[in-house]
Subunit: 357 residues, 2 copies
Amino acid sequence: MEVAKSLQQIPSSYIREILAAACDKNVISLAGGLPDEKTFPIDLMKPTLESLCEMPEVFQYGSTAGYGPLLDYLKGYLLLPDSHSVMVTTGSQQGLDLIARAYVNPGDTVVMEAPSYLGAMQVFGLVQANIATVPQTEFGPDLDKLETCFSEQSPKMFYAVPDFHNPTGVCWSLATRKKVAELCIKYDVALIEDAPYRELRFSGEAVQLVSDFCPQHSIVLRSFSKIGSPGLRVAAVSGKTPYIEPLIKIKQGADLHSSVPMQALLLGLLKHNDFGQHIEAIRTLYKSRYEKLFTELKSQLPDTCIVKPVDGGMFVWVELPECDTFALAKSLLANGVAVVPSPVFYPDPESAGAACG
Amino acid sequence: MEVAKSLQQIPSSYIREILAAACDKNVISLAGGLPDEKTFPIDLMKPTLESLCEMPEVFQYGSTAGYGPLLDYLKGYLLLPDSHSVMVTTGSQQGLDLIARAYVNPGDTVVMEAPSYLGAMQVFGLVQANIATVPQTEFGPDLDKLETCFSEQSPKMFYAVPDFHNPTGVCWSLATRKKVAELCIKYDVALIEDAPYRELRFSGEAVQLVSDFCPQHSIVLRSFSKIGSPGLRVAAVSGKTPYIEPLIKIKQGADLHSSVPMQALLLGLLKHNDFGQHIEAIRTLYKSRYEKLFTELKSQLPDTCIVKPVDGGMFVWVELPECDTFALAKSLLANGVAVVPSPVFYPDPESAGAACG
């Protein structure tokens, strides 16, 4: 049975190899955003895990949009206005997939940052989007190029990771956020704001979500994988109600609904008195690791390599002199360190030129 | 933001309305295959639920194909040969969605029984398949019409529910199974065998899977929603390895992987010493309910209504004299009983003519 044409066009993703390498206990993995297993708030989840046996309703079919008590809680937690809805997805990856399937026709233009998150490129590739890219500056996307792209290509959506970008670690400045929102409104482009690392800020002050400045033109993906547990596969997607309804329709065919016991478990975790303290502890841990990594990279790499500081998240991007980054990554892996060569983060790998650790 | 053309073509599904009606405690629901909450084997799951806290690895990202120990167990449980693979999906609904996305191009022909499972029609509609249907007899699909369809339309796949069909309750005879397998081999059509009700046989002897007779031309969807718990959203799909690999590739973009704690929970349930006994208890319960329903329908409906006996599963199909089945369903709901009018089970509702309870 021949596979569908849409699948034939997708290059084999690097994520699987990353996860495989990261699972090897002898490898120091700087590849993939895997949270440290030791940080999982299992103690905070334990009371809910034990009470699931007393909740037969979570073992029944649930509603597609999500487990009612969790949806109610999330509306407050995410400070959603009445005009907005939230739905639960099987991880943010599913949220992204549902958005692509609900809105993108083959050939529709989707704008992404370059470099960009692998899983997003895969999803937009599967719906055969025309992917346009805008290069990153240290403050976020190049605004002139973004406006040119919006005005010339009339894209349907702009997918972005404004907080501690995967893979560069860049966090957009407030001015950039306001300007991007303005452009989305002006050119009627939907902003798809993916915020899995937002809570992992370890220095500086939190900046508002980009979508706060264009709430009628945005969908926000909220992950709990980095602050809770990725294994649960429970995430949330929010936006104005007419934006969310088509996603529910697609999700119905995609998996009917996400695991209900896992939604109840996430709710218990979010409501736990010590959850805020848990996030603080994660931030402190990742800060210390980042500082160690950054200091070592700065002191041990030659001056021709550029390492930019970050204020949070899980990624550091290293710019290298022209070289074969795949060969370098292979050689590093042979020495027990996994990194990801930069070309895989570009829809058009020819335009890439740096390696990321 | 305008929704994708593929979504515009999908009529609003009846499943959501069914689930909503079934949730009303004042309604006797004969609509939708919701297992009885009181049958959920929570006691059998309790030891695993309590031990999850000692298994930090299940809270980490997992592999796309599924939780290793569960996959290993399923290979034996499903008696898979070495040439075959199994993968875990977020419910069988996702298995179906992945198959459609991995294999069906817009316009490719997919054969279904008529009537057919709503969720399958939705999934094949989303990939814009050309849906061809074959009418059912009491032994399974009309074999002459199936062969004509295979030879004239060169379909890519034939989706079927051979055990206690949703919505008719029909269970294919052994002869029909062998002949369908023969036709799939002869015309190189992949059989998609959906078996969610297979374990719910309450009379007669189990018949082999259709795919046992065409293992190189089939994919089997195995659900644990009816014998375990639908809320977990953990199912399995199996087939020869080259058939399964493209599904894994799509799943990576769709949700990375299914919930790992829920996969561990299912494994604990399947391995529990009392699981076989639990299935026996469910069969006995559904048998008694079926007998009550069947007897009452037989005795209280006029002779112009035809009710066929079934040997298992969750569905009874009632043939009525020509009437407006939607109006009838509405009137029944006003009287506290939910049923589904038959036209919704036909890709082409014009060809329908009976009501199902």
